[in-house]
Subunit: 372 residues, 2 copies
DNA sequence: ATCCTCCGTGGAACCGGTTCCATTCAGCTG
DNA sequence: CAGCTGAATGGAACCGGTTCCACGGAGGAT
C-alpha cells in the first residue's frame, strides 16, 4: 500500500524469498521449478498485482510479439475486409497489431522506412501498396520479415490474385450472355510512386478485358473505355457519357465494385433499366455488392488478409514460406445486374423504388410534407 | 561490414569518439551540443545506418508513444469510420496505434484486463463497448489513461450522442411528414455482459421514439415494434411481418442504417414502393446510406473517433479533459426514402431497377430473363 | 562410503536506450 | 592572474525483464 510504484520482478522475488530468475521461470511457465516454490511465487504475484512489463521482456527477449499492417485508405471496404481477416489470425496467434493507415506517398514512405527500424515490430504486412525497391531493400537490410497482400513484390512472399484473368472472367461472362458492345470503366493508373500510391490492378483487369474481347474476335472499342480517378463519382460521370452516345454499350465492366456502384447510380438516374437495358459487372465482391444485387468477380478479400497473416507467422516461426507467390481463386458471382442484352428484368413487377441521391453534400432539407 | 549486428548507441559513440550521452542528445535534438559534435555524430549515424531502438527508449523513458483502440466487430461500417477518424488524429500526433478487434466477451475481457497492465500502451480508447466496473477499476488502479467513444462510463471522458434525442428526431421527422402508423425495428438488448457485448443504443433510440409518439398524443402501438438480433436479415424478416399485417405501418424507423437496409430489401422484395407506400428512416448515416438514398439521423462517426483521440492525447499531455461527457450533435438527413404517407415517388418516371438479392449465399444462378 | 548426475535455484550480465551528476575547460570579471 | 560561471561532455545508474552460468544438495550407481 505504501508505494504507488508498480511492483517489478525484483519486488516479487524479494517478497517471496526467491531470486529473480526463479520468478521469471514461474511467470513463463518454465519447467524445473518446484511446485511449492511455484505456488509461493504465484501467491505473491497475485497479492502484489504484479504484471510483467511487455516492454522490458520484449527488449530482453529481442522479440515484440507485435506486427504492423500497412494499408492504404482505411475507408475502402475491400481494405477493411482484408484487415479484418488478418487481425483475426494474428489475434489467435497471440500477436498484437499496429495498423498504419496510409493516405499519401509521404506517409507511406514514413512508415515503410521507419518500420524495418529496429525493435518496433517483429514483422510487417503490406496490403495493396506497391513498394519501391528502396523500401524492400530496407527490409532486407534489416532482415525484417515482410509479407504483402494484393501486391506482387519480387523476392517477398505475396498473396495475390490474377487480375488479368479476373478481367477476362468478367468479360467472358458478359460475352457468354450475348453482349457485343461492352464498356470498361476503371482507374487511370499513375505510375509515379512519388506522387501517387500507384495502384495498378485496374490496368491489368483492363488487359484481361481486351484479351477476352480479342479472343472472341472483337477488338476493344477504344471509345467504350474510360479511365479516371477512383471513386463512384467519376464512374457515374463516365457512365452518363457512355450511355449518351448514339451507340451505347449494352454492358459495362467496372474495375471495382465501388466504381460499379457509380455505374448503377448513373443508370438509375438516367432511367436506364439494369439489367434490362444495361448489364453491369464489378470486381471484388465487397459485402455491399450482395446488397446492391451486383454481379461481380469475387476475390476472397478476408481470406487474403488471413493468408498474409498466416504466412507472416510462419516466417516469424522461422519456417520457409514455400511458393513465394500465392494465388487466390477468382469466381464470377452472378446476381441481378447482368443478363442478356435487351432483356427485361427477371421480375417484371419490380416496384418503383427509392431514388438514390449519392451526391455527397445533401444536408437536411427539411421540406415538410404538404399534405397530411 | 564485418558485424551483422545492428549498430547500437554505444557503437555510434565509439565510432564518433564521444560518449553515449552525447549521442543520445544529438538523436533527440537536445540543446547544449556543439555544432561540430552534432555533425560528426550525425555523419556516423548515417554511415552506420543507426536507428534507435523503439523498445529501449520506451523502456528507459517510461512511455511508448503508442495507444490501443478496442473496438467491436471491425466489420461494421460505423466502427470503421470511427476508427479511421481516430487513426488520423493519432497519426498526426505521432502515436502508433494497436487495434484490438473484439468479437466475444472473452476477447473483450482479455484485452481490457491486459491493456492496463504495465508498459504496453500509454493510453486506451474503447469504442462502443460497454465496460464493466471491474474493467474501469483496473484502469484506475494502474492509472492508465482511458477514454471512450459511443459509450458512457462514469468518471471516464466519453464522447457520445444522445440516442434518445436521436430516436425522437427520427420519429418527429416522420410525424411531421404526416405519418401516424410508425413502426420501430431495433436490437434486442441483452444486458448480461458476460455472454454478450451488450450494446444498448437501440433501446434508448426506441425510448425516444416512444416519447415522440407520446408527445404527439399517440401512444406507441406495441404491435409495430420489433426487436431481435442485429443485422439486416432480421430487420428484413420483421419488415415482412409488419407489412403483412392488415393494418401495416406507413413508415418504419430502424435503429440503425444497417437494419434500415434490411427494411428496404424487404420492401423491394414485397413490391412495396419506397417512399410511395412506405417511408424508411435509419440511424447513423454510414456512407452506404447516401448510396441507398436512405433518410437517416446522422451522427458524426468519423468525428467521434477523432474527438476521442484528441481527448486521449490531451490526457496524455497531462491536461484536464474539461467536461467528462462530450455530446456530439445529431441531424436529420432527408434523402429519398421518406415522404408523406400515400405519396408516389418524387420522380414518377423512376425506372424499374436491378433486383437486390441480399441473401448471403447467392451463387451464380444462371436463370436468363424471360422476355426480350 | 565415494563419485557422479541432475534438479532447483540465485544472481550477474545483458538488451539498448535516457538521465543526471560530475568534470573539464573556455571566457569573463575584478 | 585567481576566481567564477556556464556550456559541452563522459559515463554510471537505471528502466525491468531474460538467460546463462555456477553452485548446493539429494539420490543413484559402484
Amino acid at each position: 500500500m505504501r508505494s504507488s510504484r508498480r511492483a517489478n520482478i525484483a519486488d516479487v522475488a524479494a517478497a517471496s524469498g526467491v531470486g529473480v530468475g526463479t520468478v521469471s521461470r514461474v511467470i513463463n511457465g518454465a519447467a524445473n521449478v518446484r511446485e511449492a516454490t511455484r505456488l509461493k511465487v504465484l501467491a505473491v504475484v497475485e497479492q502484489l498485482g504484479y504484471q510483467p512489463s511487455h516492454l522490458a521482456s520484449a527488449l530482453a527477449r529481442g522479440t515484440t510479439r507485435t506486427v504492423a499492417i500497412v494499408v492504404p485508405h482505411l475507408t475502402a471496404p475491400s481494405v477493411v475486409e482484408r484487415l479484418a481477416g488478418a487481425l483475426t489470425v494474428l489475434n489467435a496467434e497471440g500477436y498484437e497489431t499496429v495498423v498504419c493507415s496510409v493516405d499519401s506517398p509521404a506517409q507511406r514512405d514514413h512508415f515503410l522506412s521507419s518500420l524495418p527500424g529496429r525493435h518496433r515490430t517483429d514483422g510487417v504486412i503490406v496490403m495493396s501498396l506497391p513498394l519501391r525497391s528502396g523500401h524492400v531493400a530496407a527490409f532486407r537490410r534489416a532482415s525484417a520479415p515482410l509479407v504483402t497482400v494484393d501486391v506482387s513484390v519480387r523476392g517477398v512472399p505475396h498473396t495475390v490474385i490474377d487480375d488479368r484473368a479476373g478481367g477476362r472472367l468478367a468479360t467472358e461472362h458478359l460475352l457468354a450472355l450475348g453482349h457485343a458492345r461492352i464498356g470498361f470503366i476503371g482507374d487511370r493508373v499513375r505510375r509515379n510512386t512519388a506522387t501517387s500510391l500507384g495502384f495498378t490492378a485496374s490496368d491489368r483487369r483492363q488487359e484481361g478485358y481486351r484479351r477476352a474481347l480479342g479472343a472472341a474476335g472483337a477488338a476493344a472499342d477504344q471509345e467504350l473505355i474510360r479511365v479516371g480517378p477512383h471513386g463512384p463519382a467519376h464512374a457515374e460521370a463516365f457512365t452518363t457519357e457512355l450511355l449518351g452516345r448514339p451507340d451505347p454499350p449494352t454492358a459495362i465492366f467496372a474495375a471495382s465494385d465501388t466504381q460499379a456502384m457509380g455505374v448503377l447510380a448513373a443508370a438509375d438516374r438516367l432511367g436506364v433499366a439494369v439489367p434490362g437495358q444495361l448489364s453491369v459487372i464489378g470486381f471484388d465482391d465487397i459485402s455491399l455488392a450482395a446488397w446492391a444485387g451486383l454481379s461481380t468477380v469475387r476475390q476472397p478479400l478476408e481470406e487474403s488478409g488471413a493468408e498474409g497473416a498466416r504466412r507472416l507467422c510462419a516466417l516469424l516461426r522461422g519456417e520457409q514460406v514455400k511458393p513465394l507467390r500465392q494465388l487466390l481463386a477468382l469466381t464470377v458471382v452472378q446476381r441481378g445486374s447482368t443478363t442478356g442484352p435487351g432483356r427485361a428484368a427477371a421480375r417484371p413487377e419490380v416496384p418503383a423504388v427509392r431514388q438514390a441521391l449519392p451526391q455527397p453534400a445533401d444536408s437536411k432539407s427539411d421540406r415538410a410534407g404538404d399534405r397530411s
